[in-house]
Amino acid sequence: MTVIDESAPVKSVKAKHGGPSQLDPVGQQTHRALAAIPTWVLWGLVVVWTIPSVGLLVNSFRPKSQQLSSGWWTAITDPSFTLDNYRQAMFDMPGGYVSFGKALLNSFAIAIPATVVPILIAAAAAYAFAWMPFKGRSWLFIAVVAMMAIPLQMALVPLLQLYSGGAHMTLFGQTFTIFPDLNLNNKPIAVWLTHTAFGLPLAIFLLHNYISSLPGDVFEAATIDGANHFGIFWRIVLPLCKPALAAFAIFQFLWVWNDYLVALIFLAGNKDASPLTIQLVNLVTSKGSGTELLPSAAFISMIVPLIIFFSMQRYFVRGLLAGSVKG
């Protein structure tokens, strides 16, 4: 439950370690050369770090025959690229696999609601926890935040039973149904609901931090202007929270998009609704036909996170730092 100070400046204001200017020319040259060493080492490591990804990217464009016969680096001397892998993976998977175009849609269909729903619910709760007085507010808030400590695994078995059998209780020889059997297993909604529950504690915690730091007199001014709590929430809080909402939205979206475990448990039996991660592992483990499509399929699964990563890095880092404690 640690929070990293999001306000810590990411951009350096510190001067770089420049050398003393009064050195003789030779000394200056040596100094400059020495000062460049960290840069060289850093970029060397960057290359090492990037090689695996580059390998996959290169392979995803290589024709089947080459992929199976030689490593991706041979493309340097013997370049031959095709978009056919992507076309096949997206629309025309061989061997009875669901196409990755379909899986991509499934991933969106899971990730968008599983992001929007918890955000709305959490924002309302966070506003109430921050600015509405009511009995038991503080202990309820502590209880909610404490749930961040519960590992995901702790809820999976009972949820699986709940979704496919409901909850019943036998009292004095009679069975009461507490929760009806909604037969949700292997439907996307089971995954939404699960991710919503898991995302809430962190979302409430983050948004509460943000909302409680908003100046209270703005809410008082709105009260006098004639807004009630609902109006304040809708017209003042939500618009003001955009940065925090964006940070959490990106974190939660990527979390759900990249999730494998929850989808595997609640959705693996329904190939037509399975997200990218499930389809990818199916393709990996079955070592049969279509392995040459694995690199392009993997890249299809990564393209959305990478776009978000490169275009919204500021929010991404912020959400990630803040959410680094998620269960």
Binding site: M1, T2, I4, A8, P9, V13, H17, P38, T39, L45, W49, P52, S53, G55, L56, L68, G71, N106, V117, A124, A125, A128, M132, L140, M147, A149, P151, Q153, M154, A155, V157, P158, L159, L162, P188, A197, L200, P201, N228, F230, W257, N258, D259, Y260, L264, T277, L280, V281, V284, T285, T291, A298, S301, M302, L306, L320, L321, S324, V325, G327
Partner: protein, 398 residues
């Protein structure tokens, strides 16, 4: 195309219903008297969250603990401790030799890693003693905070832990090995890269490239690394590492599956996680290093400190709270590792971990055994969470 439309419609309708419900209830509350409005409104706002958390997280967690103490596949047969301990023929989780065994205990002390680790520790202690002598001018005490000594000790501890986890086998040892290796190495690399970046040009671009694996799924990362580890076979070209081995005239190795390489295949999966998490550690620590007031660094330089001393005596002490955050965060997330193992070896070849055990039992319909493994993960994570919570409280009260 029709599936696209139906997806959009489904999602849209669900969201609209949810928002509409919230708005309607609030409009209803608007109509109430002031007194009842003030009384009811907070619950309209926290209500949905509380219901979701209660049904979706709290009750299930309690039930998981309950199930772990029940017998029968779905807990229908009464209370028992067998899920944890059991009999020698049907051992519970903690009695199962595949989960927790101390058989290899004596092998620890004969392993090369252990001996090297102890040697490094001794050298580190010598360095510490020398540092203390240099600082005080007299021959007493050790200074463990000197650069050589503390770095040496950290490496020694990692080596000894590796010796222990390669000697003693079992799912829980695997998990602890994961935690030690990934947390230790990702933090060390991350710190090193953050320091390096602080002194480099174009650091933002470099950091972005190293941070990038954080954005993609573990499944994707596993696939990326399969093109490093693959062994040449019919219908499969060699991965980069095996190609290098061939190039050096050595035999190719099946890094993840070979019987000869067990238990080190675990470490090759861990490398993927380290590859991912180093970026996280680096970004967090880099932000912390940048937030150290530059006057502090400049004052130390004016006082005659060199770069190493500045880092060791000024920067490092300032970022220790952040280091603790990084370490605890990594411990908690690595303890729950699942995707990588599932996508690489499926838990075979001695690479199984707790979360995968939990999953396999769930798939086999043994809900009580599955719950037991979930509870074991909880118990292992709880001390770290508790430590975090205490620290957070102390920081808030300050």
């Amino acid at each position: 195309m029709s599936s696209l439309i139906s997806t959009i419609v489904n999602v849209g309708v669900a969201l609209a219903v949810l928002v509409g419900l919230f708005v309607l209830v609030n409009l209803g509350v608007n109509k109430l008297s002031q007194k009842w409005e003030d009384r009811l409104r907070p619950w309209v706002f926290v209500g949905p969250a509380v219901v979701f958390l209660f049904i979706g997280l709290f009750v299930p967690a309690v039930r998981t603990i309950y199930l772990s103490f029940r017998s029968g596949l779905s807990g229908e047969k009464g209370f028992t401790l067998d899920n944890y301990w059991g009999t020698s023929s049907t051992p519970g989780a903690l009695r199962d030799e595949n989960v927790l065994s101390f058989n290899g205990f004596t092998h620890i002390f004969t392993s090369r890693l252990f001996i090297i680790g102890v040697l490094i520790a001794i050298l580190a202690l010598f360095a510490a003693r020398r540092a203390a002598r240099k600082a005080t001018g007299s021959g007493s005490g050790v200074d463990l905070s000197s650069p050589g000594a503390s770095l040496g000790l950290v490496i020694a501890v990692i080596l000894v832990l590796f010796a222990a986890f390669t000697a003693m086998r079992g799912v829980i040892w695997n998990n602890l090995w994961w935690v030690a290796a990934v947390t230790g190495l990702a933090t060390l690399f991350g710190l090193g890269l953050a320091v390096l970046a602080d002194r480099s040009r174009n650091e933002t671009a470099a950091k972005t490239m190293i941070f990038m694996p954080m954005a993609i799924s573990m499944v994707g990362a596993a696939i990326i690394w399969s093109y490093m580890y693959n062994i040449e076979s019919s219908g499969q070209s060699p991965g980069l590492l095996n190609a290098l081995l061939s190039g050096l005239g050595r035999d190719q190795v099946d890094f993840l599956r070979s019987a000869d390489i067990i238990p080190w295949n675990n470490f090759f999966i861990m490398i993927i996680m380290i590859w991912i998490q180093t970026g996280f550690a680096m970004v967090v620590l880099s932000a912390a290093i940048k937030s150290v007031p530059s006057e502090l660094v400049e004052a130390a330089k004016v006082d005659g400190a060199n770069d190493v001393q500045v880092f060791w005596k000024i920067t490092l002490p300032q970022i220790i709270p952040t280091l603790i955050v990084v370490i605890t965060t990594l411990i908690v997330s690595v303890m729950k590792v699942f995707d990588l193992v599932k996508a690489t070896t499926n838990g075979n070849f001695d690479t199984d971990v707790l979360a995968n055990r939990m999953y396999t039992n769930l798939r086999n319909g043994d809900f009580t055994a599955s719950s037991t493994f979930a509870v074991i993960i909880l118990v292992l994570v709880l001390p770290v969470m508790w430590f975090n919570f205490r620290r957070g409280k102390r920081e808030v009260s300050r």
